[in-house]
Amino acid sequence: MNHIVPIIKRDLHIYFRNKSSIFIAIIFFLVVSSILPIGIGPDIKVLESISPGLLWIAFFLSILLNINIVFENDFKDGSLDLILIESELPELAIISKIISFWLIVVLPLVIFLPLGGIILNLPLGNIKQIISLIIISSPFMILVASMGSAMALRVSNPSLLITILIIPFYIPILIFGTLPFIENDIMNFSFSRSLMLLTSLSIFAIVFVPYLLIYVLKVNSD
């Protein structure tokens, strides 16, 4: 219990030193959100109909291409080994690092999600709902992405590999997160149903992924 706050404090300190970490995710997100409409063309109706998926995908990519920072710094100077062997509860220590990443990358992204939605011409009525779905599935997204980061810890340019490895596992989130908002013949997939599914996925991830993370991190450590 006692490790959580010190680790988060220290991680925030270090992230703020490299100011680019905070801003690069936001800028990437806005850039991707901006060029998609240009590629789709002038038909506003078309853009509107596919905007939910585009928002999710822009968000995914912003996470996946940045997730390597969650363990990289500590791995390089041996602090990761320290956390793994000398913590009373390594699982909690790892969760603290996940929380740090969430605060530094996900929180700012979430703040800019509405802007992304507007750029993509997402119907205003839906923006609030989609954003809440994204927020509620963010624990799942971060935890699964950090599994990818842990697996690719020793690779020199891991971001692309992480994206390839983890995107298949994001597909259910993408499906659940967009079905309530787009035209489809699949039953009546309501927002609240989606909310329920995504929440349970996040809870499932919070409970089980830390143990897997410790295993993979230990395999890769040294």
Binding site: A152, V155, L165, P168, I171, Y215, V216, V219, N220
Partner: protein, 234 residues
């Protein structure tokens, strides 16, 4: 488990692998004879239905191989048998090939039937996901950096990806979408006529033996490479 000792495995492979190839080849020859000269054309699809005889066995094989990979990797992680990891690693590219065959044959079959090259229904999507997972797995296995760490990581990844297999199997039952529901592997027994079932099973067996043959060859290469590295290091 004794057969998983590297030297004994090499002996076994050298002696018996060729028979697997012969058996597989003969079975496939028999199967295709059956397909082209005996089994009927579909009254709706005409001769295109014959693609099924490649498409369906390949699908069974792509999922079966993934299951094999998951099982051997579990064995590797829990019982620490190094040869199990080698079997998984050698199977992955073969599984990828069969997955590609499913998707490509499916495209060529579906185009005349449905009028489109691709459709985002549950089974096609989850098969595509299987393709990506195979690709990811192969990428991890190529992360070789002189130590054995990638083998364990690949094992974890393959086990996590296994969740996709039941989704593929049951996707056509859960969601009524474009792809045809199961006709063979059903609790009530196959609904398909024997004149089509038999060639299907023969081709399937032929593919299995060919897969085993190429698997054993890949394992042999891997084992020999390991031997070479061992003698260099010691």
């Amino acid at each position: 488990m004794k057969v998983l000792n590297p030297n004994q495995l090499l002996n076994l492979i050298n002696k018996f692998a060729i028979y697997l190839f012969v058996l597989g080849f003969l079975l496939l020859a028999l199967g295709f004879y059956y397909v082209f000269f005996v089994s009927p054309n579909d009254y709706q699809q005409g001769i295109m239905v014959k693609i099924m005889y490649i498409h369906v066995p390949s699908a069974w094989l792509s999922m079966g191989i993934y299951t094999l990979i998951t099982a051997t990797n579990l064995l590797f992680l829990i019982r620490k048998i190094p040869t199990a990891s080698i079997i998984a690693k050698a199977s992955a590219p073969l599984g990828l090939i069969f997955t590609l065959i499913v998707l490509i044959s499916g495209i060529f079959w579906g185009r005349p039937m449905w009028g489109v090259w691709w459709v985002w229904d549950a089974r096609l999507t989850s098969m595509l996901v299987l393709l990506f997972i195979y690709l990811g797995l192969i990428l991890i296995y190529r992360m070789e950096n002189g130590e054995n760490k990638y083998a364990k990581i690949a094992a974890v990844y393959s086990i996590l990806g296994f969740i996709n297999i039941p989704i593929i199997k049951f996707s056509v039952d859960w969601w009524n979408t474009l792809h045809q529901p199961a006709s063979v592997l059903r609790l009530d027994g196959p609904t398909i006529h024997t004149s089509m079932l038999y060639p299907l099973l023969i081709v399937f067996l032929g593919f299995i033996f060919l897969f085993l043959y190429y698997l054993l060859l890949s394992i042999k290469i891997e084992l020999l490479e390991n031997k070479l590295r061992n003698s260099k290091a010691n």
